[in-house]
């Protein structure tokens, strides 16, 4: 009996060691735990101010912008709204490789949640605010397909009261052409060219304000809590619980050996920067130079932070003032997307080149050569089990149902 009692602690210690060994083969150190916590939604700072948009946080602008976002009258065929490609029940994206507006685009629609934290918008960062971004698709011949005076007339006919409340009175529009704008449609472009400068500026103001209202609404679209966030906040953390052993093994790879965290960092799991990761070109689509083209476009954009339609004091336009010049490393560099909700929004990459998340992980592990420019990737040679762990972890970033 006495001997048995002596043996008990040894057995107990052995059992603890076995238990730890089974669930936590390598304990997390403090630095790793800090890195893991830095990915939690709890770490998301308050929304950054947008000094270029004076109505960014005006609830009336939010309501107006939401009405604009879902209004299909802002299109050439009366069938396309922002929500056509940015569907609220689908993480504000459309599940398509190439989005369909009034025509087919050359890129994949990006989700909107948390985009207010991003200094540059679009896959190539050719816009520097949510409001300037919203204006791009409105004038694209394959997205909304309309033009500036058409949109001003839509505001006047259907949103005049709410608009006036936020931005003040609309300019006189009744003498202006029904369709005019600096767009690819030759008739609308000619009509725009024949308008006098003051009228053009007045319409540009309305056009910019449409964007500013949409931006105010989009600022309210934030990423929902995921199982990963709940696990970090749980008592079990960092032991298995809301996350399984496989998912935690994937997290360990994510922040360690696989190096995903180099670019997918912070609570939105993106560095909001641009990287060439050797994503293949799509046959039949025009050459896509990514950030090299986008950084030139954003500087030329009249709707940028330093432009006449911006409400910012120029010194506050720090992202534009200190934007890196487009060097060789920005050739075919595309924006790092957030990984929140990533597992349930295939296909992947800027033109939906990769069908499944498993294939994306294979792509990053293999690190093939870039079709143009230099890929930042180096081969990881992850084995099948490691790839499965990573996939499992990424699925834990889906919103809690």
């Amino acid at each position: 009996m006495r001997r048995t009692l002596h043996a008990l602690p040894v057995v107990a210690v052995g059992a603890i060691v076995l238990a730890i060994g089974a669930t936590d083969p390598v304990a997390w150190n403090e630095e790793e735990l800090a890195v893991v916590r830095s990915l939690s939604l709890d770490e998301l700072p308050p929304l950054p101010a947008d000094p270029s948009n004076r109505v960014a946080d005006d609830p009336r602008a939010v309501r107006l912008g939401k009405a604009f976002f879902f209004d299909t009258r802002f299109s050439s065929n009366g069938q396309v709204a922002c929500a056509t490609c940015h569907q609220p029940d689908r993480q504000f994206q459309d599940d398509r490789a190439l989005s369909l507006g009034v025509g087919r685009t050359n890129r994949r629609a990006m989700p909107i949640a948390g985009m207010a934290y991003s200094p540059f918008l679009f896959w190539d960062g050719r816009k520097d605010s949510l409001w300037a971004q919203a204006l791009g698709p409105l004038e694209s011949a394959v997205e909304h397909g309309g033009d500036r005076t058409q949109y001003a007339h839509v505001v006047s006919a259907h949103h005049a009261e709410a608009y006036t409340e936020v931005f003040g009175p609309l300019p006189r529009l009744d003498t202006l052409p029904p369709h005019a704008g600096p767009v690819s449609d030759p008739i609308a472009a000619a009509a725009w060219g024949s308008m006098d400068g003051a009228d053009q500026l007045a319409v540009n103001d309305v056009f910019a304000n449409i964007g500013k209202a949409i931006a105010a609404y989009e600022r309210t679209i934030l990423p929902p809590e995921t199982r990963f966030d709940a696990w970090i906040a749980s008592a079990a953390f960092p032991k298995p619980g809301l996350l399984t052993e496989d998912e935690i093994a994937g997290l360990r790879l994510f922040i360690g050996e696989a190096g995903c965290i180099n670019c997918h960092n912070g609570p939105l799991l993106t560095d909001n920067h641009f990287h060439n990761t050797g994503v293949p070109a799509v046959a039949g689509l025009p050459d896509d130079r990514g950030r090299v083209a986008g950084s030139a476009q954003v500087l030329d954009d009249p709707f940028n932070c330093l432009g006449p339609y911006s409400d910012a004091n120029p010194v506050d336009c720090t992202e534009l003032r200190f934007m890196a010049p487009a060097g060789e490393e920005m050739l075919r560099a595309f924006k790092t997307p957030s990984l929140r909700g990533v597992a349930s929004r295939s296909p992947y990459m800027h033109a939906g080149q990769i069908e499944t998340l498993d294939q994306v992980i294979v792509h990053y592990s293999a690190a093939q050569r870039a079709p143009e420019g230099l890929s930042e990737l180096r081969p990881l040679n992850l084995d099948e089990t490691q790839r499965r762990y990573l996939g499992a972890f990424l699925a834990s970033l889906d919103p809690i149902q």
Partner: protein, 147 residues
């Protein structure tokens, strides 16, 4: 079975072996060299100046635009009031540059300058390269900073 190790084959293989060793030696390695000089006050390469840099807010946050100050003295320790200062940098282990183009935006007096537009978009070892073109001539220095 005979292996054909020709002279040409060996020569062709050299760049491959070099690039492979460069890879394993650190291009994508996460380990930061132990002997990295992390001092933020040092002499420039040709000892023309002494430069001291410091973030304005000591808690530098990942992905956040922020400012640094730079103090510049000549060989005799006198403040340099006027100099053209170029800033670049990047992550030697990842082969990319800074995500922004920082610049000196103000002369603060007594040899001090304000650098705005600094941002680090990854954790790890960053190099901050400065080229100083001042009254004693042009000189350069690379600081190491770990986020």
């Amino acid at each position: 079975m005979q292996t054909h190790l020709t002279r040409r084959g060996l020569l062709l293989g050299i760049p491959f072996a070099l690039s492979a060793s460069a890879l394993s030696a650190g291009l994508f390695s996460q380990t930061i060299p132990d002997d990295l000089d992390l001092a933020l006050r040092r002499s420039t390469d040709a000892s023309l100046y002494t430069v001291e840099i410091a973030p304005v807010d000591p808690s530098v946050r990942l992905g956040k635009m922020h400012a640094w100050t730079l103090g510049l003295t000549d060989k005799r320790g006198r403040p340099v009031e006027s100099a053209r200062i170029a800033i670049s940098g990047g992550m030697p282990q990842h082969g990319h540059g800074l995500p922004t183009a920082p610049a000196v935006t103000q002369t603060l007096g007594e040899g001090r300058f304000l650098i705005e537009g600094m941002k680090f978009n990854m954790r790890g070892w960053w190099e901050i390269d400065l080229t100083i073109d001042g009254p004693s001539g042009t000189d350069a220095i690379t600081f190491n900073f770990i986020l």
